[in-house]
């Protein structure tokens, strides 16, 4: 992290958060109509996710939403690794 004048002077600065990898979450009943999709309608305001909807969001945001009981994490199934050995041909 570069040293800035603010850090040297001991000024209070909020360091930018490192972007976190997105995770998949599912909206709970409690979170129905509480989480923004990021789209704002000029008549109705923010469009909100409904109960049961699934969406991807940065890990830190997901954790906060989960703490509030608005979402649950969706386990991502990892495809099983093939047991067949891959033969590498020498050319």
């Amino acid at each position: 992290m570069p040293v800035t004048a603010a850090l040297i002077e001991g000024r209070s600065v909020t360091p930018p958060k490192e972007p976190q990898a997105p995770v998949l979450v599912k909206v709970t009943r409690r979170g129905h109509g509480k989480i923004s999709t990021g789209v704002h309608d000029r008549t109705y305001g923010d469009e909100l996710y409904a109960d049961g909807e699934t969406f991807a969001v940065a890990g830190d945001i997901a954790e906060e939403l989960e703490e509030r009981g608005f979402v649950t994490f969706v386990p991502v199934e990892v495809a099983p690794v093939s047991k067949e050995k891959t033969k590498i041909k020498d050319e």
């Binding site: 923004s36 923010d46 906060e64």
Partner: protein, 317 residues
Amino acid sequence: MAVPSNTQMTYATIGVREDLENNIYKVSANLTPFTNMIGKASVNQPYHEWETYSTRAAATNANEQGDDTAASASEQPVRVGNRTQIFKDGGTISETTKATVVAGQSDTEAWQKLQKSEGIIKDIEYAFLTNQASVTAAGSTAPKLGGFQAWITSNVSRGSGGSSGGFSAGTVAAATNGTQRPFTEALLKTVLASSFSNGASNISYALVSATHKQTFSAFTGIADIRAEVKGTNQATIYAGADVYVSDFGSLTVVPVQYPLTRDVLLVDPSMWSVGTLRPMKVEPLAKTGDGSKFQIVAEKTLICRNQKASAVIADLS
């Protein structure tokens, strides 16, 4: 040219008096723009409450001649409240320091009190504008007031995954930040339109960070920025906008030095006020040695008269 030998120079002179100005120059442009623009009220206990109400939506209202009149359901106001927060700072100054002549400070103790008071005033503004949940005092828990960004739930534009806080059962919850996106004029216009439709008809200030102030100044609107250069005068470059005339009224853009970094607050100042339980006061503390101790304390809350009157554009990069 040569300097004659044995010429006494200042740098070899003993006893040159120091030339230290008897002034101290301070930087603090506009300490508290939000606190300055809103109202003031007295509160009587650490939990202050008030009621809010919105008129119902308009509908067709036409009746037959001689028709009997039925009563419609009576709408009740919503009761909301906020906690007070105790702001304080202290100082200790030795009796020797008090007796010493110091440049720029005719009274060293008074100087300390002044600069600490200014710090508290800034802390109050910080608490008001930040996304801070209210906290009820309990045991070793310090009470906190719910800040502006925590209050607003009706007129918000958040990034994906963002969620509003708001008042519920005696507490104001903080909002959850969403995914950041660029601040654009289109975004401002849609929020102004939806807020107006939702009852915010008197938004007159936009509080923005320095970065977003510059972004704001680049909004083109329908402006034609040209100025006539007369004679041999130099041209002036206009690169800043302080007022944005929207379809719903003029918006004065106020850059704030803290704490906004990712949010733009659209404010109707008539719907906010500072609630004071204890005004800021300097109190001497018990003497425990060869020095003087004091504390400066204030207890305040933020009164959001109706959160529907203001708006937040959150999660901006």
